[in-house]
């Protein structure tokens, strides 16, 4: 049987900007949907202007984060602040299945592209919006980036060493996890429902609420047990040894997780069954938890004489979960698993060849091929001439008027 991509035939008018939204629409694009980014050089996406760029490159197409998050998409330049831009946008809506939006507040409504208006153009349209705190509520106009949202969402408070101040998660974490992928799940649910019933709908993914849904048992522990969960470092109540252990080398570490008594036996055997591993106090999980400081010290005596690579190889060979605390350098230059499954080097007319992140969702009979991100307005011709069927003279007219920029 032929391999067709699962979302072939789906067309999305994409007003997502920055990171969270585009990572969601990147997923649709990778799986075959036609994702049309609506952009304007009069107000380019901040990731086209402020992201890290290749040395000595200028312009709106040389920020790597933008190019990485927008592979496989199309781009049109459309100035929605121009009075004639709106009519073009609506003609495009009529041809699309989904319209996306991550502006906070009522920007789309003020442009005349709110859900109530879109439904008049296409009754079964699906609109998804990703405001920070929600489309409703007293704080609906508040703004924040991922580094604030994870704090607001409770994840920062749960992270870190007990007794130390909170530190965050080292990245704008919610932009690359809960928020884009809740948006993907919700959009697919709506598309499926539309196919089955002919009805579209409006989707509100409040980034704050979406992030809170990644807090595991923290909410229930408070509402049921009145306990405010705080950080637990690298420990878990139901595993030992479980943590991060210093290895040979500068700032090199290995993570280890031993959960069952079988794994404990495998672990002790793998490290050569030193006398201390036979002590009664370490023979069961409760004992290992009770003496965990000493246990960790003893494990680290073993790891600190080895590289993290050797620790991982030795323990994995024995069936024990262990992994190097890898850096970006490890991932890009030393990790064979990531090289095989994840990173792809792409060419780009305005950038040197770079490593791009592949699609972590893999599935059979869906040959996802990465194609470089679009230059701003690169597909004006295809969209305006072919898709909308505008005549040459009309297009020139719009360009002179400043609508297609």
């Amino acid at each position: 049987m032929g391999s067709r991509l699962p979302l072939e035939g789906v067309r999305i008018l994409d007003f997502f900007w920055q990171a969270a939204g585009p990572l969601a629409s990147r997923t649709f694009a990778h799986f075959g949907a036609e994702v049309i980014r609506v952009e304007s050089s009069t107000r380019p996406c901040t990731l086209r202007t402020t992201g890290a760029r290749a040395p000595d490159r200028e312009g709106l197409n040389v920020c790597h984060i933008f190019n990485n998050l927008n592979t496989n998409k199309l781009s049109i330049a459309l100035n929605l602040n121009h009075p004639r831009g709106l009519a073009i946008a609506k003609r495009l809506v009529a041809l699309c299945d989904v319209v996306t939006n991550s502006f906070t507040g009522d920007r789309m409504e003020r442009w005349g592209l709110g859900y109530e208006e879109l439904v008049k153009v296409k009754p079964d349209i699906i609109m998804i919006t990703m405001p920070v705190l929600g489309a409703t509520g007293p704080y609906r106009h508040y703004r924040a980036w991922g580094s604030h949202i994870i704090a607001g969402g409770g994840l920062n408070y749960l992270t870190g060493m007990p007794g130390r101040p909170p530190t965050g998660i080292g990245t704008l974490y919610s932009d690359f996890s809960a928020n884009p992928f809740h948006a993907v799940v919700a959009t697919m649910a709506a598309l499926r429902h539309r196919n089955r019933t002919g009805r579209g709908q409006f989707i509100d993914v409040a980034q704050y609420e979406s992030t809170i849904c990644f807090a595991e048992t923290a909410i229930l522990d408070y509402t049921v047990n009145h306990r405010v969960q705080g950080p637990n470092g690298n420990r878990l109540p139901y595993a030992a040894p479980h943590g991060v252990y210093r290895c040979q080398g500068d700032d090199r570490w290995c993570a280890i997780g031993v959960f069952t008594e079988d794994e404990w036996k495998a672990f002790t055997s793998a490290i050569g069954s030193p006398d201390w591993t036979q002590e009664e106090r370490f023979a069961s999980l409760p004992g290992r938890k009770q003496h965990e400081d000493e246990l960790d010290r003893l494990v680290e005596e073993w790891t600190s004489e080895r590289t993290p690579e050797a620790v991982m190889a030795t323990l994995q060979a024995a069936g024990v979960a262990a992994g190097i605390v890898q850096t970006a350098e490890d991932l890009l230059t030393r990790d064979p698993q990531m090289r095989e499954r994840h990173y792809r080097v792409l060419e780009h007319p305005e950038m040197p060849p770079m490593n791009y992140d592949g699609q972590p969702i893999k599935m059979t009979d869906a040959p996802v091929e990465l194609r470089r991100a679009p230059l701003l307005g690169e597909h004006n011709d295809y969209i305006y001439r072919e898709l909308l069927g505008l005549a040459e003279a009309e297009i020139n007219d719009y360009m002179i008027a400043g609508v297609f920029e």
Partner: protein, 416 residues
Amino acid sequence: METRENCCPTALGDVRVLDLADQKGNYCTKLLADLGADVLKIEPPGGDPTREIGPYVGDEPHPERSLYFFHFNTSKRSITLNIEKPEGRAIFRRLVERADVLVETYQPGYLDGLGLGYEALRELNRGLIMTSITGFGQTGPYRDYKSCDIVATAMGGLMSLTGFPEDPPVRPGASQGNHQAAILGAAGTMVALYDRDITGLGRHVDISMQEGMALTIIQSATQYYDLYGILHKRFGEFSPLGVPGARVIFPCRDGWVTFTPYNLNVPGGRWEELVEWMDSEGMAGDLKDEKWSDVWYLFNHISEAQETLARFLQRKTKQEIYEGAQSRGMLSMPVNTTADLLADVQLQARGFFVAVDHSELDRTLTYPGAPYRLTETPWRIARRAPLIGEHNQQVYEGELGYSARELDLLRAEGII
């Protein structure tokens, strides 16, 4: 805020899911269940191992009181089944024939060894979507490596960025490795399901926890190494982006806040407004001096400016800073505790938290609510997490046609 089964149309009401997922995938099947799918949690006789994960109701360890199990198994039904026994596998095959989705988290090859791998199951049901969530995926040199949340966050690079530089790297709280892998599994399942509806053909979805984690560091680490050979490590309280030395987290009177005051010609910065705010309380230090209005001077002396800012914020509460900053167009959110979340007026106005009936405990418990709101097919918790094998009779007798006596025999033989 009550929960009712089938109160309104659901997105997945016609979808049957077989759930063999552990911690790596239970959030995936929760998402499907809360969107209406009939998710059968398949537990070994005696109960799923994740029932041994706390915390527990009233801190009393018991397989029917695990808050971990409650949270991740909302809206699901439970059957017990031992797939290690041939008779158990025969029953499983019958379930696969009438299922749409199977989610599993076993080591690659384990189900193949039992004759229950994707190739075998596809023969029974061409439309089956099998979603496998594992530490490193179904392929590659590390495919047989064991994983868990801490190993995934380590191997995926996220741990190298988390914590203070002078401390060991630390695992992000609340098991982000598990959550990210599981949500990618849900997203993949939904994409495959969309196409299955059209073609009638399923797919095998393959998720690697490591790749999920690696995706989260592209902006703050991977690209800097690829572009410049600069290796970012643990950031502590500083920002992973933007001006070097810029703090994000500041202590205040009753905890900590995140705060981003400076303007990098991106929307959100309000430097002048900030200085005015501080000055109105006599706390602006020398920040009103002409030199600070030069953005490059600010960037190059950011730590000095931040000391003044830190003194200003130190005197205020989280809520004062939050409202004061946002009303002036500044980017700030508190480092919220769960107590803060339950008291948050925005979440209250949105009705975010939901009550779920636990008649077996004679109580109603308050759960986190919807990650998304769909107007036609809303998220909802259909029921509390199931008791062990709570739906054995409904499924085995009601659907598969076993008699009560046959079930007794299966139970006695440890098959269910």
